[in-house]
Symmetry: C2
Subunit: 302 residues, 2 copies
Amino acid sequence: MTNLKKFQNEWLPKINAQLENDLSQVSSDDDLVAMMKYAVLNGGKRLRPLLTLMVLESFEQLITPSQLKIATAVEWIHSYSLVHDDLPAMDNDLLRRGKPSVHALYGEANAILVGDALLTGAFTVIPQALTVSGAPASESIVLITQYLSQAAGANGMVLGQIHDMQNHDGAESDFDQESLLSLIYQPKTAALLRYAAQAGALLVKGSANDETFNPDLVTKIADFGEKLGLAFQIQDDLDDFQQDTTESVNALPHLVGVTTAERMRDDYLNDAYKILNDIKLNDQRFHPELLSELITFIGDKS
Amino acid sequence: MTNLKKFQNEWLPKINAQLENDLSQVSSDDDLVAMMKYAVLNGGKRLRPLLTLMVLESFEQLITPSQLKIATAVEWIHSYSLVHDDLPAMDNDLLRRGKPSVHALYGEANAILVGDALLTGAFTVIPQALTVSGAPASESIVLITQYLSQAAGANGMVLGQIHDMQNHDGAESDFDQESLLSLIYQPKTAALLRYAAQAGALLVKGSANDETFNPDLVTKIADFGEKLGLAFQIQDDLDDFQQDTTESVNALPHLVGVTTAERMRDDYLNDAYKILNDIKLNDQRFHPELLSELITFIGDKS
């Protein structure tokens, strides 16, 4: 069994338990909690929380209950974005992972509100982590809140979705290769994976009592997350394209063809790999093996 | 000129300038910024930020730039809620303050996303305040983030809207007087006003370097905000009812009649007044005059 598989086997159930526990407590209203759980506890891969935890693991950190809780907040954001993306006014998807989407099951008004509640709830989960065992300093919580909101908001995920909605139903994309990457892939997908890696680095930095942690490392690890995110989104579009070549016009395989898209995916994965090597050269405590396996895993999906 | 009017004249322009400044910087995308500004900078009374600042003023605090910034975050939340409430799947309102609602002007997808961006942006504004002049301690920022998200989320405003959507188009309300107050008025309106007062108290507490600030005061001031919020919502529904008696079935005047609704509004205002007197008895630094005027102002609208 690979390190990655072992890590997933250990932490995926813990991430899901944390999500379920926090969702159970976010509202006194059973119906709303049930709708929110339906949106979140649906067999997701939890790539974003796992990425935060993998960064901690790579610096030989024992992951604390507080850090686990913080790592799951991004999944509330990711889940809300899927609920809103599926809405009739957006992608109008009636199915999500083979089951009815939230609005298909509970109606449009509830789906809008469930998304709003999940988005808001992410910013309850993070501050609550201050009172959980193994909490980082308040300063770290404040920074993590700021970075998550920026990655998810009007310069991040929401902006990417706004661009993606442009010419959404047209026969051809308004975007060329470069603008597709910078205006959709980067904000819509890579920003949140960048944040997930960055949050892990901030938590490592927060638990370092010595002065040995180079602040450049946070940026380098964030950059690693971004490259990984870009490759991940290209791979996701390649998977969709193989099933249906008309799925989305705002997708790289549609625009440049499968071969070029695969090459670009591999370029991003190589960039990510180089960053890991660079970090390893500058910090002896860093063990890149797990994150290297994640790179391979994302590239291997083709 | 009353103290209240003077305070509004001084702080309303500063609140609007802060909102405009933060909105300008929240995204590199001019179109998105323009849509977000359209939603927020529309002549709102800014009751919630003003309430936070009035609490600070009542304890003779000089309001710092950081505190002003924190006080405006709740207005991002309030504004997003109006954008989403107006959506076709919700109230389907094409007008807001005499102008086209956001979805009427920019389309439904953009309105959903503008709302999402505003909600997310509130949680950028608050942590950013840590680096602004006169900032509270990180611990206060974390608490304020937690309380705002709880007031706005699945146990607060979003829950109130979910309840309000139930039997939304029916001829009669499913709610009796008590459940209307506890399931709609309290979470949908009063929770956010409760938060606004509480945030002011937390900022007062945060700037008190001595141990003289009684922690009970935060709860008392929060309770004051809640009573005020309940009265405010009843008054708002009374105003609507006078214009159109069929406007909403989930409104107190519709359910119990105008006279009883007015009496209940006055009861809540009296409760709020009693809390101010109680605080004054226990804390000599507290000057209740400004908040007393706010009570009178809300009751005087009829």
